[in-house]
Symmetry: C2
Subunit: 407 residues, 2 copies
């Protein structure tokens, strides 16, 4: 039984009243239904340890609030048949937006986190234009449902959001400057908006709806694209750090005299192990003397997707580039495994498509470099699972399903 105590934050606490008790217990109920649905009141009583009468009372309230619905009756060998309860998916509640440099994906999900509609659009260069188009599309998706049926909008993006002001403070890959995305979207949609860094969103999604089991309380997500991002869930909570900038392990120096990174330093993890690094390794291997020049005269610079395809076809240079990338990916992952010892570390990004090639190389480096006590499972995510997007859904739903802010 792991039980980590928390220091009470005397700047930001909430005293308890009688309603607090109901709040806590109904959240527990909601989570138990989410996990076990369809489930009878009698089973909820057994799972929760609450009295049968209390379970009934809470169920009645949650049904009145349209969180739960009564469904079919079950069958038992003896006795009265139970009435099953399940999450009320008609309360069709959440909009999720995954902003990536080129493409933005938006989705509507029900409160059981199932995506019921989804579409994509290009990510405009101009933030105001982007907000206008995004709002138009969201309104369009939403209008089929009752007016007040939506809880909010979750947004994941490749950048940093100040913890207090919720302003975008660092998003070089979007190049929008210090734009108040939250304010603009809220104004335009009339719904509460939650912004989150993409890696954090992935970690959130994996902890809440990944298939890792209930025992997982510490999870790290590593997103690999043109950069590397890290999202951390520790003790079941997101680690945001001082100004919401925790997780920039991508800019830790792993090779002191290594290649130049776009951050201005040298040998950063992401300069060694990102998709862009793999492309560089490929160019270096393909024309050893002068990799950069080769790409300029004649054929276009290959994309990381090209390299994955070439490696799959058995191209030696591409395979070598992936191996180099894998080695350095492993070095960074070893750092996280050694330092944070999460239960699970998930890798997100195109690179997972070649995991049967990259994975073993990563595992080898991690095994060699980390102490024997760490038992972290390193898992690639299925690209179909859309962890960023699922994270945005959880971002909104966690307000209702997470433990209440107590003391």
């Amino acid at each position: 039984m792991r039980c980590v105590v928390r220091k009470i934050d005397l700047n930001n606490f909430q005293v308890a009243t009688s309603e607090t008790v109901r709040d806590i217990n109904s959240r527990i109920m909601l989570n138990l239904v989410r996990k076990h649905q369809p489930v009878s009141r009698a089973d909820l009583m057994r799972y929760s340890g609450l009295q049968r009468s209390t379970v009934s009372a809470i169920a009645e309230q949650l049904i009145a609030e349209r969180w739960l619905k009564e469904g079919a009756v079950g069958n038992l060998p003896r006795g009265r048949k139970p009435t099953f309860l399940h999450l009320n998916t008609e309360r069709c509640g959440v909009v999720g937006v995954d902003i990536q440099p080129a493409t933005t994906t938006l989705a509507v999900a029900s409160i059981d986190s199932q995506i019921v509609a989804q579409e994509s659009m290009p990510t405009q260069m101009d933030p105001l234009e982007f907000v206008a188009e995004l709002s138009r599309r969201i309104k369009n998706l939403i209008q089929a449902y009752p007016q007040d049926a939506f809880e909010g909008v979750g947004v994941s993006l490749p950048g940093r959001i100040d913890a207090t002001s919720q302003q975008l403070i660092f998003a070089p890959r979007l190049n929008w400057g210090e734009f108040d995305l939250k304010e603009h979207l809220e104004q335009s949609l009339g719904l509460p908006v939650e912004l989150e860094n993409a890696a954090n969103a992935c970690a959130l999604a994996e902890l809440w709806s990944g298939r890792h089991g209930d025992g997982v309380r510490d999870l790290v997500a590593v997103t690999v694209s043109d950069g590397i991002g890290v999202g951390m869930m520790m003790n079941g909570q997101m680690v945001r750090g001082s100004r919401g900038v925790a997780g920039e392990f991508g800019h830790v120096t792993l090779v002191p005299e290594g290649p130049l990174c776009r951050c201005g330093n040298t040998g950063c993890w992401e300069a060694l192990a990102s998709n862009a690094a793999a492309v560089r390794y490929y160019l270096e291997a393909a024309s050893p003397r002068n990799g950069e020049a080769a790409s300029r005269n004649g054929k276009a610079r290959p994309t990381f997707g090209d390299i994955l395809r070439l490696a799959e076809q058995g191209d030696a240079h591409a395979t070598q580039a992936l191996q180099q990338m894998a080695h350095h990916l492993g070095a960074g992952i070893a750092m996280l495994v050694t330092g944070l010892a999460p239960d699970v570390l998930v890798v997100v990004g195109e690179v997972t498509r070649a995991w049967e090639m990259v994975g073993p190389a990563v595992e080898e480096v991690v095994k060699q470099r980390s102490l024997t006590h760490a038992v972290t499972r390193i898992l690639p995510t299925d690209p179909e699972a859309q962890p960023r997007l699922r994270g945005t859904i959880v971002l909104v739903l966690q307000k209702h399903f997470a433990a209440p802010l107590i003391a």
Copy 2:
């Protein structure tokens, strides 16, 4: 207003009852008294937002349980004079034990974390002998107080404790093997015992009784001795990781082809920046050709303390060794600042005695390598403050002062 939500742990939750409300509110009260004492009921009402009647009721209960005591009456320009409340230090409650490879320090503290008695003893090689001697000394210290006045014993040690079994799983510097220290001490003393890794204890002490202000929720402690340990408090909670082994950043590879570490790998942070590394740098500088040999033939190998002393006297080799150590210390700290972005990072160890020399070098590396957004304050701890020992006190007290385990 930062507010991080937590996923409810369905394997380990607690439903709320009416008593839960009192539990939460009395813990808030206890913390408010701890912070503001001496303080009147009326002030507590204002700090907490609870009703005056509720504050009185809770105060009455806490006085009955001997947590609080009524003290002097205050003075106000008008109206009835307030009766001040303060923590009841006569409830003299906690034993702290700081086990270090050579010396073990034990202390008795009151519930306001003030140390009232303290003594040291050598750390024996044999764990059973050690437990016997430690118990004898603790019993001796305790006997002056009422029989039932002690809450428990907190222990910090250079090693790892399995999160579930509370067994010692890795303590090479003590060389005790897999010894069940907790069980042996509890048997011998009849008091509950809490074990914790030394770096974690430091982080705990700094968060709970450091002078960093209430706003600090994310704090990292770096202990520098013959090894390097890292303790993390994130969102006001200790990060223990999967099997309680989080924080082994000392064994992250920072220089791929670097010096051999005792863990078997090369270029680990602690092989580059620990006290032992500084001694190595000194020997290399003092006899460039053959540092190791020099120490063997003739004069004894200098200790890190010697190097600090020499550097203070202006010795060039010692100064250079410290600079090398500082550079690498900075590299590792830059990793932590970049990746975790804590509000505060404290450095613990003998090296802080030379901080006017080491600090600027560390700051320079960190400034160069970390992104501009991190606002981490890097602070040396006062060696007099005994952070390890204070951490052991908090270890026991947090059971009563921390937020209750809810949902």
